[in-house]
Amino acid sequence: MTFLYLFWEFFKIGLFAVGGGPATIPFLFDLANSDYGWFTQKQLVDMIAVSESTPGPIGINMATYAGYNAGHSVMGLAGGVLGGIIATAGLVIPSIIVIIIVAGFLKAFSENKYVKSAFYGIRPMVTSLVLFAVYGIVSQTFYQDGAFAWQVIIISLIAFALMFIKKLKKLHPAFWLVLGAVAGVILKL
């Protein structure tokens, strides 16, 4: 039954996550806080880190990881493998269906005024959704077990500030994540 729900939840994400990888984060955040109990918010943060630093599109990586966690929670390793595959399939099937329908009238679709105006309204909404999820993730990471995690907050703020520097902007996320790991080990967080 879990796998059926898993497919359905990711099918919905594939259908409504407009704007690629980052747009799936609010949906995953919603799942982390749902009654399913597939993964926690903390696990979601780890999933994002791994997805950013391994090959492949981030959205796909996160879906596979979320599916793995969900399947693992009910059936161990085999469940994890199955869950990863099912969640990923759920995520991409709406894309395949929509694209195949649209492919016939590619130009007409992308220039259709209703499509254009719908996306004009959806894009800022996606920004609100991502902001909400990121706010939840950040506050949970900064405030753990009833206290502010000051060292974590300071590392995060330093990284955040450094990422504004033009030359550092082009660095790959994996580079920052490795630095974070090193800082974590040194400070024994």
Partner: protein, 182 residues
């Protein structure tokens, strides 16, 4: 036909392995593999696919793969290209997830993960800034953003509903603009 499908699968699997990050970072790689090597699309077509891939739901990399696969070998082509694109992700992530679970209990790994989480927060905050720069292009989009903000933070509505409300507002706003022009 079979050879064609296999070729689609392998080419996109290769792109999947070599992609770090997805989205826009993929474009140079796609140009090299799809336009220059395989000649499955012209550069202009690729940009068209890419543009449409961004305004249809789902992962942009997958949408683009489906487009190219479909244009080469119909529905089966679309499916093979997409399966090729996601196969490396599925294999790598499952391996990493299983390994990480084993090592999670070591204190060093726990410390490293805590540092990583701090950096993820910084990366995500920058993602929000990038999204805001791209999507908040005028007063109306800024207002839609604020409505979305209220829907999320005050009413805690599911993301799907928020997206649908966005689409409705977008269509309504442009209808009003049209009427005003007349």
């Amino acid at each position: 036909m079979v050879k064609n499908l296999l070729s689609l699968f392998l080419t996109f699997a290769k792109i999947g392995v070599m992609t770090f990050g997805g989205g826009l970072t993929m474009l140079p790689l796609l140009t090299k593999e799809i336009v220059e090597k395989k000649k499955w699309a012209s550069e202009e077509q690729l940009l068209d696919y890419y543009a449409v891939g961004q305004c249809t739901p789902g992962i942009i990399a997958v949408n683009t793969a489906t487009f190219i696969g479909y244009s080469q070998a119909g529905i089966a082509g679309g499916i093979f290209a997409t399966v090729g694109m996601v196969t490396p992700s599925v294999l790598i992530i499952i391996a990493v997830a299983a390994a990480l679970q084993q090592f999670m209990e070591y204190p060093v790994v726990a410390s490293a993960l805590m540092g990583i989480r701090a950096v993820v927060c910084a990366l995500l905050s920058h993602t929000v800034i990038t999204l805001a720069k791209k999507s908040l292009v005028d007063i109306v989009t800024a207002m839609i953003f604020i409505i979305g903000f209220v829907l999320c933070f005050v009413f805690d509505i599911t993301p799907i509903l928020v997206v649908i409300v966005g689409a409705i507002i977008g269509i309504a706003v442009n209808k009003v603009r049209e009427v005003r022009k007349k």
